[in-house]
Amino acid sequence: MAKPKVASDWLCGCAGCHMSFLDIDERIVKLIELVDLRSTPVTDLKHPDASGVDVGILEGGINNTANEEVAKLMRKRSKILIALGDCAVFGGVPAMRNFFTIEESLQRAYIDTESTDSEGQIPSSPELAKMTRVRAIHEVVPVDIYIPGCPPDADIIFYALSELAQGRMPNLTEEKIMWN
């Protein structure tokens, strides 16, 4: 039987969850014996296989149109979708932007900040994604497994992935749940 394919991506987060994944340290050797790591931000494959992957992992919430596209694509191509980390699970720290209007945030960052020079402007090139409200992944696509944490401990991530690698759904209870 072919090894399960795993793809991941990061959206409106800080990469901390993927760094926590790397904190499994030498267990990564064991893990890649069990799974086939496909597209991730730390590998050079850019998108989840068109033929689909078994497990798709998304870190970070959704805060612009580009994130929406990536989330939808990952959902479409994954049998099981994991929301990894507090940002993906509920929006996380970036969701504090929802307390203000997007215009207020852009105005502060690109015009009003004290170090920005007098030619400050809000970037508007069509190459750039459009900002939206910050949302949890499950507000945009259905999620199968939630792994909260900021970031979740490496042991929890390793447990979840090794369960999935062996064909089981991870059961996150007690010390395997953390929101901080």
Binding site: A83, D86, V89, F90, G91, G92, V93, A95, M96, N98, F99, F100, R133, V134, R135, A136, H138, E139, V143, I145, Y146, I147, P148, C150, L172, T173, E174, I177, M178, W179, N180
Partner: protein
């Protein structure tokens, strides 16, 4: 007694017991949030819902009284779904950022409740409506985003403290915690006792200093006694790496049952003074560092010669020092050196006798807690001995009457049913004896308590008037005494005089107090002054010998509160190596003076 079956366990409990408490008696813990053992059940959070056979819907176990032959189930699929739903609703109502909240990761009851239910996410998202942070208060910060409207703080502010500052404005989804009628907390009638902070289950109410200093599992807990006044509240002092993190009231303390005032809870957090780091002796015109032996030798020499030459020594002791220190002090200065003695209370000199103490009347704080009428004479207990005022104020809504008798306006006047003022206290007491309304109240009372302190206890005329009245109405008397060991000082007759003219030498067992300018000036003309102190001050700067002493947090010792109850203080921090225990310093001085003194203070207090 009624019989009730909970999760197939059959038990008998008194009538009126709630299902929640009955379950606890059966060893079953039902999850709760708004419930608190010290507060009346509220039934607001709905986390404690259980199944009661025969009832149409799930019932809140915290408010529901058991009935005979009731059958209760606390765990099944329906109940678990209900709990998850309740928690989901709570999380979606406000903005809970667990990633960086300081109670996150163990100290948050809301988060722990969600972990217990196995929640890995919130099915309902918040709509991210922002709530404010109220940082107007010097000690307490309210983070409305984290409030779950459990009302523990509102109930504590009313039921336990009797201040009724906190309340909830608006209704439904617009409900919001407020102080008074919507004032920022720092401008409100809040008295800064911090009970709200201690009962808050989330990070909604926090203090300014202990943020991120350490979670409950990372700090050490030390049970000790507060030395802020003669109530002697039981404390839980939290430390980490020999550093004070936070002071909490010990819920198990029999005197205060978890309550503290701002002086006990918050004042020690803002410590800015500098420690005395070494013994010092004045020579060649200035204070120079010296060894302990050198310092003791100078003291023995100078004090010995003063007493032999029939000159006058004055000695002062802080009432924040333990009985052990006081007993050594008494034997050295009062008994042997025939010194004039006085105590230091809150930095001020306190001389003269306590007359009522000599009459030996005292009652307990329990009587205050159950009084149906309290008459407060001669002191403002909202400034000093604040926890006593809590015991009085919190019973007012139930019908307890309050009469205040004092020289000037005080913090209880707004709560009082009768308020009598006169610049001459003795006259005020006489007015009380003729005030019709007050007389009516006192006559109707069955548990009448007179709480008095300050001037009322020192002036013969006041005391006589008060005692007559007390006898007439069968009132119990509670003298608040001044200072943590104020009663001990009275019993040791250390409060003997306030005439300090013509003094040849002075010894000040200051401990960790800072004295007033007036007191410092009193000693300026004295030729030889020894100061035993934790902190540097103008007093130590003018002294001839300075001895570095432990602070209240660094020493073990005993205290006798206003009721005559003994309690033990245990060190929470290790002192700097160069400083010494206050009692040891006095013991060493006694030895150097060749005095034979006893350590048996228990016998001396009998």
């Amino acid at each position: 007694m009624v019989t009730v079956t909970i999760d197939d366990k059959k038990i008998e409990v008194p009538e009126g017991t709630t299902v929640l408490n009955a379950a606890r008696k059966a060893g079953i813990e039902i999850p709760t949030l708004c419930d608190h053992p010290q507060l009346q059940p509220y039934g607001g959070c709905r986390l404690c819902l259980v199944e009661v056979e025969g009832a149409r819907t799930l019932q809140p176990s915290c408010t529901m009284p058991v009935s005979d032959n009731m059958v209760v189930h606390t765990e099944n699929e329906k109940i678990r779904e209900s709990r998850k739903f309740v928690l989901s609703m709570i999380f979606s109502e406000r903005n809970h950022f667990c990633p960086y909240c300081q109670v996150s990761g163990g100290d948050c009851e809301l988060q722990n409740a969600a972990y217990d239910e196995g929640m890995t996410h919130w099915p309902l998202q918040p709509n991210w409506q922002p709530y404010p942070v109220d940082a107007s208060h010097p000690f307490i910060i309210i983070e409305h985003n984290r409030c779950i409207l459990c009302r523990r703080c509102v109930r504590a502010c009313g039921e336990l403290v009797g201040n009724f500052t906190l309340g909830i404005e608006e209704r439904g989804a617009n409900s919001k915690l407020m102080a008074d009628l919507g004032t920022p907390l720092g401008e409100s009638t809040c008295i800064g006792c911090g009970t709200c902070v201690q009962v808050c289950p989330t990070g909604a109410m926090i203090d300014r200093w202990s943020a991120y200093q350490g979670k409950e599992t990372e700090v050490e807990s030390h049970k000790t006694t507060c030395v802020g006044c003669s109530v002697g509240c039981s404390l839980d002092v939290l430390t980490r790496d020999n550093r004070l993190v936070r002071i909490e009231g010990d819920w198990e303390g029999t005197t205060n049952q978890g309550l503290l005032c701002e002086i006990g809870r918050f004042t020690p957090m803002g410590e800015e003074r500098n420690r005395v780091l070494t013994p010092m002796v004045r020579k060649d015109g200035g204070l120079k560092a010296a060894t302990w032996d050198e310092a003791y030798a100078v003291i023995a020499d100078k004090l010995g010669s003063v007493s032999e030459g029939n000159k006058q020594i004055a000695s002062f002791i802080s009432t924040r020092l333990p009985i052990e220190s006081m007993y050594f002090f008494k034997q050295i200065f009062k008994d042997n050196l025939k010194a004039k003695t006085a105590t230091i209370v809150n930095g001020y000199l306190k001389g003269s006798r306590n007359l009522v103490g000599e009459y030996g009347m005292a009652t307990s704080l329990d009587d205050v807690k159950h009084a149906d009428c309290a008459v407060v004479i001669g002191e403002d207990i909202t400034k000093d001995h604040q926890v006593v005022s809590f015991f009085v104020k919190r019973n007012l809504p139930a019908g307890t009457k309050l009469i205040t008798v004092s020289k000037e306006k005080d913090g209880l006047d707004n709560f009082a049913h009768v308020s009598i003022k006169n610049v001459k206290l003795a006259d005020a007491i006489k007015q009380l004896a003729s005030d019709l309304k007050a007389l009516e109240i006192m006559k109707a009372s069955q548990n009448l308590v007179f709480i008095f302190g300050g001037h009322a206890a020192e002036c013969e005329e006041c005391t006589k008037a008060m005692l007559d009245l007390a006898k007439q109405f069968s009132a119990k008397l509670l003298n608040t005494y001044d200072g943590a060991n104020g009663k001990t000082a009275q019993l040791f007759s250390l409060v003997s005089t306030d005439d300090f003219s013509k003094i040849d030498a002075a010894y000040v067992a200051l401990g960790d107090e800072t004295v007033s300018q007036a007191f410092t000036q009193t000693l300026e003309k004295v030729p030889f002054v020894v100061v035993q102190s934790s902190y540097i001050s103008s007093l130590t700067a003018n002294a001839d010998v300075v001895l570095p002493a432990h602070t209240w947090l660094e020493q073990n010792g005993h205290y006798m509160n206003m009721e005559g109850k003994l309690s033990e203080a245990k060190a929470s921090l290790s002192a700097p190596e160069s400083s010494a225990c206050n009692a040891d310093i006095l013991k060493n001085i006694a030895a150097k003076l060749g005095l034979n003194i006893s350590a048996d203070w228990q016998a001396a207090l009998q």
